[in-house]
């Protein structure tokens, strides 16, 4: 995969035009207020952007993975918080799409595709970050249903989501933990008694995307909300990452491209020592590296998407590789963009300082860069 087909280009152009006209002017305000942009959700729903990853039979568009990545990239190019909206909508829905029953899909997917409801994905806990398997939120059988207890933390859009994919321990025996059969996935609906979102984090970046703490205090959840078999939770979470990590890679590529575009424009206009600063070799070389790294990250992302979509046995490695490279690229490129803009870049007069803050999260969530390297290395060694 090196170039987009006609349809993918048309999708990219349409989303770029929309993002520049309607989202870019809101970006600084969203960042400053730290409020979740419900108006942008509405905009994305209106233009069927949220429908893209969902199957046609449930009102979605059945878009291929590269199309989905291109859309996330284009929105993130102007606002990484907003770029996360379609990414999280897919992230929270993947377990349902993968293992949901016909009834469960009919119940939620059409509304998810239309953007009438939002979803979230809740695996991480305060004491279970990179070591997600050590989660302690439990689900215990209670008659026909389940009782959930525990807390989840750092859940993107957890407070605004109408349904949350919650991964809870249903069998804490040593054997189940060893076999990674200890967790089960439940779709918990907003308004469920005993389920609340007590607080949101104050963050350095992606400030328009709320990051919530979720609390379960004897929350009663029907068995009809259990997605997948009992004990399938961990497998479903890992399956989810195969598709969601490239989404974060796309967010990172978008941030890097947005910062590169601004740096190039600035370097072409700002004059020092009698010529545009881009004509000074030291700045020119920085721009060249920024553009090259960003394009390389994008190409790896699209290649990874092709492998993952074909159910490549190394899908997890591909997902980790593209997220790792794109996240590091976004961090490096945005740091350089601030450097190119100098003192101006450090102020809120230009968006590159926001992009630099936003970029950092792509090295942290959906598995830190260290966890990605661990997965890649394990997969490489496993083939010996």
């Amino acid at each position: 995969m090196t170039v987009l087909n006609d349809e993918q280009r048309a999708l990219r152009d349409a989303v770029r035009e929309l993002a520049e006209a309607k989202i870019a002017p809101r970006a600084a305000e969203i960042d400053a207020s730290g409020e979740f942009p419900h108006d942008i959700v509405e905009l994305l729903a209106q233009h069927d952007i949220l429908a893209l990853p969902f199957p046609v039979e449930y009102g979605g568009l059945g878009g291929d993975m590269v199309s989905i990545l291109v859309v996330i990239e284009e929105i993130s190019r102007v606002d990484a918080s907003c770029g996360l909206i379609p990414a999280v909508q897919e992230l929270g829905s993947l377990a349902l799409l993968h293992a949901g029953t016909e009834d469960q899909k009919k119940r939620w997917v059409p509304d998810l595709a239309q953007g009438k409801i939002l979803s979230a994905f809740a695996l991480t806990e305060a004491g279970a970050g990179s070591d997600a398997a050590s989660a302690r939120t439990t689900a215990k059988r209670d008659g026909d249903g389940w009782i959930l207890n525990g807390e989840k933390r750092f859940i993107s859009q957890g407070d605004v989501a109408n349904i949350v994919a919650v991964f809870a321990v249903t069998d804490s025996s040593a054997e189940a933990v060893k076999d990674k059969r200890h967790m089960t996935c439940f779709y918990v609906e907003k308004g469920t008694a005993g389920f609340s979102s007590p607080r949101v984090e104050h963050k350095m970046g992606i400030r328009g995307s709320t990051t919530a703490e979720l609390a379960f205090q004897n929350a009663s959840v029907s068995d009809a909300n259990r997605v997948g078999e009992v004990g399938d939770g961990w497998m479903l979470a890992m399956k989810t990452f195969e598709r969601s990590r490239p989404g974060i890679g796309a967010q990172a590529v978008g941030i890097a491209q947005g910062a590169t575009d601004i740096a190039v424009k600035y370097a072409g206009q700002r004059k020092q020592f009698g010529k545009p600063i881009g004509a000074h070799q030291m700045i020119g070389a920085m721009l060249a590296d920024m553009a090259t790294r960003t394009e390389a990250a994008r190409q790896l992302l699209w290649t990874a998407a092709e492998h993952i979509e074909k159910d490549d046995p190394h899908a997890q490695r591909w997902a980790s590789m593209c997220k790792l490279f794109a996240g590091d690229t976004a961090m490096a490129v945005t740091t350089d963009a601030v450097q190119v803009l100098g003192g101006y870049g450090y102020t809120t007069e230009y968006p590159v300082e926001r992009m630099m803050r936003d970029a950092k999260i792509t090295q942290l969530y959906e598995g830190t860069q260290q966890i990605q390297r661990l997965i890649i290395a394990r997969d490489l060694l496993a083939s010996l």
């Binding site: 349809e7 048309a10 999708l11 152009d13 349409a14 209106q46 233009h47 069927d48 568009l61 859309v71």
Partner: protein, 259 residues
């Protein structure tokens, strides 16, 4: 109500350049002519409200496919593109022959919509000339278009005191303005559905036109020379807060005796 919208593919505004024969270079990226898009939007709204379909008609090279596809994504039912190497350098008379022949072939339709002018050609007479050629009523500078109960068409046309209301039976040719409203963004669903829609490509032969009657050699007018406007002096940017900015602008203008 079936509407044909004349859609011209023009170089992306701001990137236009002329070739050595002073002809617009159409090998660059093309987009839909801005003034045509207002009519396209209105046509889509009318058919959404009253039924019928919108078909675009484009005379242009291969690069025109991108704006045609965008129109399909916005909601047109199908598209007709007349493309032929012999058309290069055609003047307005030849373009008119081609459009008239294509419209004959596309019958039946109720309305033909034309933009006020194009960002590259700027002739601004095509809609009127087409109405004359097809012997149809011509309603110009429409700021509103609506069907009448008797199957005709009614428009509003702005004038110095308000607006006139004009009515004509169909078929008719309507030329409209940007007051019709901004074009929509294509939705992703529209883009993905567009791939199943048909773009009918015609050549001059398909329309029964002889190649020697069109193109640069048959043009009745010829561009002898072309010159760029003189470079303008550097702009002065006023970035101060409103009160201060007003004072600066006033000072700038009064120092040049402009106010």
């Amino acid at each position: 109500m079936n509407i044909v919208v004349l859609l011209k593919a023009v170089p992306v505004v701001g990137t236009e350049r002329l070739d050595s024969n002073f002809m617009t270079d159409r090998t660059v990226q093309l987009e839909a002519n801005g003034n045509d898009e207002y009519l396209l939007e209105k046509a889509l709204k009318l058919t959404e409200a009253h039924g019928g379909e919108v078909v675009t008609l484009t005379v242009g090279p291969a690069g025109a496919m991108e704006p045609i596809r965008k129109a399909l994504a916005m909601g047109t039912a199908r598209a007709v593109q007349v493309t032929d190497d012999a058309l290069r350098g055609s003047d307005m008379r030849a373009t008119l022959d081609v459009l008239a022949a294509a419209l004959k072939k596309m019958e039946p339709w109720d309305l033909v919509f034309a933009g006020a002018d194009t960002s590259d050609g700027q002739g601004g007479v095509l809609g009127a000339a087409l109405a004359v050629r097809l012997n149809l009523p011509y309603l110009s500078y429409a700021s509103e278009i609506e069907p009448t109960d008797s199957g005709g068409v009614r428009i509003h046309r702005f004038n110095s005191t308000g607006y006139d209301i004009l009515e004509a039976p169909t078929p008719a040719v309507v030329m409209g303005t940007q007051l019709l409203g901004a074009p929509r963004y294509p939705s992703l669903r529209g883009i993905m559905q567009a791939r199943a829609k048909q773009v009918e490509t015609c050549t001059l032969a398909d329309l029964g036109l002889a190649p020697e009657t069109v193109g640069a050699d048959a043009a009745t007018t010829k561009t002898l020379d072309s010159a760029k406007p003189p470079e303008r002096a550097g702009a002065t940017f006023v970035r101060e807060a409103p009160d201060e900015a007003v004072a600066k602008v006033v000072e700038f203008l009064s120092s040049r005796r402009l106010i």
